[in-house]
Symmetry: C2
């Protein structure tokens, strides 16, 4: 993609109406556009990041036999009344609206009830279990405050998986598999070492749950961690966890963190409340055990933008960067343009994802945009290195460039 | 994918609460699940079809320099008030809801206003034009009636593209390019020969528009066509079209049809109403010319399901089928299972998308499911052909199978 053709541009100053660093950076760099508080459009560069995160999550969900589907935003009232979760006193984030006949419908903030109603249709025997399905769904949640940029939105993209089992034991076994899959995801996203599985409250879901928390200054949560023992506890359940699991408080360090995943074990509750059952091997009728597993895709993008940024801008991990390389062509001498064009074509034909800064701007402006955008590799084509046929390459995370032959550059970039 | 592991199953009888053939077939085959009237979930097989249609549309939009992004469902009232389209008297399909502070927000049924507000940010000079962006977005529309299955839903997936230009001439030129791209899309979807560009009313959008209409018994529209001259006119604007373009009524055939695409030329209207302008080459301030181009992705899926079906079930075009092949293993003799397993592994490793009916069912049931699902190629592994090392292959659109060597089968299937 040539930057001269890109729909968006970087903006000189961060937006004045945002307090969150992730929103400031992402808006300034042209990744997102604020539609209203807590509601953001994902622009061409931003959507590429979203899709990369989705693909990593998708691969790991498929690897544990998850089947992708997509449920609906509009939700019928009667379905959620079966579990009392239609009530605004029980769930305080509903957006509700009305059909033409004045009957109420809800906008989905989660999907346990609809998946269980579907399960009723497809799961009748123990032979149909276990089953695991997931979706990437735009969730709408009527949050009172929305000041954390894309880290807590009123509209956001979530991966939610639901697994159904014939027994508590089978659920437990799968639940542990998902934990491992989640850890792989955070590793691939470049935040594995700072991400902990924690004990947390179940909220509107269940009494107890597990969260995945990433250490992050901008996070809304407080965590007590022991890095060596790989233990982390959410502040809200600290007392309980100390009592129940014998953790020692003085061995825990207090840090700020952001939730990047949340998993819930509903046990047989939903199935029993909704009166859904299957026929087991012995012919008896039994409830289905349910667990749900969420990752806020756009929230994770916000955490990555915020946590890994430096004073110059965003620093994307290689796996999620919208493009792997940016070429900065310095000056408008025909030889420079020719070499930059050739380099661009060569990289494109080698399937390297490349941005080409072909705009008529000063070098300083091109460099600061490359930094702000957070592209992992910057290539500089300039008159200075032209005669030797060499090209300057610099990683976003390093300060010193290297001067390499084009073949060596290709070797670095073609993964 | 092994059918024994698939989340869904075919259902013996079509659902009693659906009148539309597309919904009956797609529900019976396990492609979709009805959440409420006009609101459907897309199950694993259904989502695969959706993604295939999306990819064809995406490739053609990228080929005419469209840049993909994604806008939002939640929409601020003030934005739509600038063009009077917040008013329920002007737009009668709004779903509206409220934030915690009781302020109203809308749920997006289209995106011209938000894209223009974004354009204001990124388009200041003639150098920034033309620009063309598109999204795949879940639209919510409060339709009074929703009885056409996924051909007219209250929640549906749409590709909408928006192009912005410095002049009417530049817009016209691009508009014609999009028409050609759309025709390519319908060709690739297998309905090109029955799809016409028609003159249509602009509805809530503009005075005049173009629709793409596919001849289809279940369609909601009536079309007057001249196949030889490749002319088609919507019934609602027939009189006007006859007057304006000198078309002769007695040379037109009356047919039923379904809209599969709709394109609108807004000219400079939106830009002027919203007071958005750019600086032209001569330094003067000018309005941006806007056109929008929609394809209802899930609607097209409904049209394909409905139009191409036969008495045995769905008949997917090869380009959109969820899987290219289904293997039916007949009987439970170990040799049959062994050969079917090997065939499955071979096809998977050759990157052929394959369903494997490994269920413990009678041959007749497997065949009728293969037909209902509409998979383009059916392979039968049975004791009968085992000794010769040959395999039976039949296309969904043909009645007679062929008996081929496995190498010849691979040649047919590996595209």
């Amino acid at each position: 993609m040539k930057l001269s053709k890109l729909f968006t541009k970087t903006i000189k100053n961060p937006p004045a109406d945002e307090t969150a660093k992730n929103a400031k950076l992402l808006i300034q760099a042209g990744y997102i556009h604020k539609e209203m508080a807590g509601v953001y459009a994902y622009l061409p560069l931003g959507l590429r990041v979203v899709e990369k995160i989705k693909n990593i999550v998708r691969e790991e969900m498929n690897a544990i036999d998850g089947q992708e589907l997509i449920m609906t935003n509009l939700q019928p009232k009667d379905l959620w009344e079966t579990t009392s979760r239609w009530d605004d006193e029980v769930v305080d984030v509903w957006f509700k609206t009305k059909l033409k006949d004045d009957s109420e419908v809800g906008l989905a903030w989660s999907h346990e009830e609809p998946i269980m109603r579907m399960a009723e249709k497809y799961i009748s025997s123990y032979k149909d279990l276990p089953a695991s399905v997931y979706q990437f769904q735009t969730k709408l949640r009527n949050e009172l405050r929305a000041k954390s940029g894309i880290m807590r939105g009123r509209e956001f993209l979530m991966k939610d998986m639901y697994s159904m089992h014939a027994s508590a034991e089978d659920l437990d076994e799968y639940y542990e598999k998902v934990k491992v899959a989640y850890q792989k995801i955070y590793q691939r996203l470049g935040i594995g070492d700072d991400t902990y599985v924690t004990f947390a409250s179940g909220g509107a879901f269940t009494k107890f749950s597990h969260e995945f928390q990433t250490i992050c200054e901008a996070g809304e949560d407080v965590l007590y961690v022991n890095r060596e023992q790989n233990i982390a506890v959410n502040e809200e359940v600290l007392e309980e966890a100390i009592k129940e699991f014998g953790i020692k408080r003085d061995q825990l360090e207090k840090v700020k963190s952001a939730e990047v995943g949340n998993i819930f074990n509903f046990g047989a509750d939903k199935s029993e409340t909704m009166d859904i059952s299957f026929t087991d091997q012995d012919g008896s009728s039994k409830p289905i055990h349910l667990a749900s597993y969420g990752i806020g895709i756009t929230r994770v993008m916000g955490v990555l933008a915020e946590k890994l940024a430096d004073e110059k801008g965003i620093v994307w991990p290689e796996n999620v960067a919208p493009y792997r390389v940016v070429i900065c062509a310095l000056g408008d001498e025909p030889e420079v343009t020719k070499q930059a064009d050739e380099l661009y074509d060569k990289l494109v034909s080698s399937k390297v994802e490349v941005l080409y800064d072909d705009r008529d701007l000063r070098p300083g402006q091109k460099f600061s945009d490359a930094d702000l955008l957070g592209i992992p590799y910057r290539l500089v084509v300039s008159k200075k290195n032209l005669d030797s046929g060499k090209i300057e390459i610099k990683k976003r995370t390093e300060t010193e460039p290297k001067i390499l032959d084009i073949d060596d550059i290709l070797e670095v970039l073609v993964a």
